[in-house]
C-alpha cells in the first residue's frame, strides 16, 4: 500500500471568470502576472474591469509558472495570448516572464491592485506575501507614496505559516479559524523565525498545549511582528491587507486588535492584488501609447 502524505500547506489552486463579460466586445484587454516565491497569479482585464484570473503554486521555474498561470486564467474563454494587448509581469520572478511586455515591482502593483479592490480611500496596505512582508502607503489613485520592506528573513511570512500548517497537520485554510478557538489568548511564541518557532511549537505540544493554542501563539507572534513594521511606516486609514495571509482571520483579527483599527473587507481573493495591479498598469500603458 502506498501512503501519500497530505500537503496541508497548499492554498486552493483555482481559476475564475466573469460569465457576464464578453472579451470580444472589449476595446482594451490586458493581463498581469504575478510570479511570487510561493504562488503565482494571472489576471485578465477587459477595459479595466476584472474578467478572469487564476491562482496556483509557483513551480521550480518562473517562465513556466507564468505561462501556466495565464493559460489557466484563459482556460475556456477562447482567448489566446495574442488577443491580449499588453501584459505586465510582477513579483519576484517578474524579470523572467517571456511573454511580458514590461516588468513592474510588486510594491507598485499591490498598491494599484488594492486601490481597485478596496477603493480609493485605502492609504495603508500591508502586503503579506510568501517570502516577505511590506507596508505600503499610497494616494487616492493607488500611487505609492512610501514603502517599507522586511528584508531580513522569511519569518512571519506566508511560507512560515505554511510550514506551521504542515507541522500541525492542519490545512492552511483552517489555520486562522482554529487559532481563534481558544478561550484565552496565550503568550505569543518567542520567535517567528520558522526554524525556532517550529521547535518551540513541538515543545509546546509535548507539554500539553492544544493545537489551537499553539496556532494562536504563532498567529499572535506573526501579528505583532508585522504591526511593528506598519508602525515604523505609520498608519494612515483606510487600512487593507493583501496577499495570502489576508485570508487568515487568525492573523488579521490579531493585527486589527493590536493596532486598534479594522482592515477593509476585500471583494476579491487578496492573493490576486499584485497581478490585478499589473493588469491595471498594462491598461494605463496601452492608453499612454495611444495604440487604442
Amino acid at each position: 500500500m502506498v501512503f501519500e502524505k497530505k500537503e496541508y500547506w497548499r492554498w486552493k489552486e483555482y481559476n475564475w471568470k466573469n460569465p457576464d463579460t464578453d472579451w470580444r466586445k472589449a476595446n482594451i484587454i490586458t493581463a498581469g502576472v504575478d510570479v511570487g516565491s510561493v504562488s503565482s497569479q494571472a489576471v485578465i482585464m477587459c477595459d479595466g474591469e476584472l474578467y478572469a484570473y487564476s491562482t496556483m503554486r509557483t513551480g521550480s521555474n518562473s517562465p513556466n509558472s507564468a505561462l501556466n498561470a495565464i493559460n489557466w486564467a484563459m482556460e475556456s474563454t477562447g482567448l489566446s495570448l495574442d488577443d491580449i494587448h499588453f501584459k505586465v509581469g510582477t513579483g519576484y520572478g517578474r524579470v523572467n516572464i517571456p511573454f511580458a511586455d514590461k516588468a513592474i515591482t510588486e510594491i507598485a502593483c499591490h498598491a494599484r491592485g488594492a486601490n481597485y479592490m478596496y477603493g480609493p480611500t485605502v492609504r495603508t496596505i500591508l502586503d503579506m506575501g510568501g517570502q516577505d512582508c511590506k507596508a505600503i502607503h499610497c494616494d487616492e489613485k493607488g500611487k505609492v507614496t512610501s514603502f517599507l520592506m522586511n528584508d531580513k528573513c522569511a519569518a512571519g511570512t506566508g511560507r512560515g505559516m505554511e510550514v506551521f500548517a504542515d507541522l500541525l497537520n492542519i490545512s492552511i485554510e483552517e489555520v486562522g479559524d482554529r487559532s481563534l478557538q481558544v478561550e484565552k489568548e496565550p503568550e505569543p511564541v518567542s520567535s517567528t523565525c520558522v526554524v525556532f518557532a517550529k521547535s518551540e511549537a513541538i515543545a509546546l505540544l509535548r507539554s500539553g498545549w492544544s493545537t489551537e493554542k499553539v496556532l494562536a501563539a504563532y498567529c499572535l507572534a506573526m501579528a505583532r511582528r508585522v504591526v511593528s513594521l506598519i508602525e515604523r511606516n505609520g498608519m494612515e486609514l483606510d487600512f487593507a491587507i493583501t496577499g495570502g495571509i489576508a485570508k487568515n482571520d487568525g492573523v488579521v483579527s490579531r493585527i486589527e486588535k493590536e493596532m486598534g483599527v479594522k482592515a477593509l473587507k476585500p471583494k476579491h481573493d487578496t492573493q490576486i492584488a499584485g497581478a490585478l495591479g499589473a493588469a491595471l498598469f498594462a491598461k494605463a500603458l496601452v492608453e499612454k501609447s495611444g495604440e487604442k
Binding site: M149, K152, R232
Partner: protein
Amino acid sequence: MIANYGYKDGAGEFFISIDTEKCASCVEKPCVKACPEQIFYIYEDDYDDEVVGVRDKSRNQLQYICAPCKPSTGEPKLTCTEACTSGAIKHSW
C-alpha cells in the same frame, strides 16, 4: 515616494530611507559615487523617474556595512548624507 530599505532585529532598527521625488530631479546623483561601499544604484522606478535605491544584497546588512562610517562617539558625518545636499537620505540609527 519615501523608500525604506533595511530591517529590524534584536540589535535595533536599521533603515535607510530615500525620498525618490528628490532623486528624480537630482541630475548628478552624487550619492552613488560618494558611498565607499557602493550600496546605492540608479534605476528607473515604476512611474518612469530615474531615482536611487539601495542594492538588494546590501539591504539586510546595513548595520555592518555602514559601521565604518559611523563613529561610536560624537555626531557622525556620513559621506552619503553629506553628498546629498537635498537631504533625501535619512538613516534610522
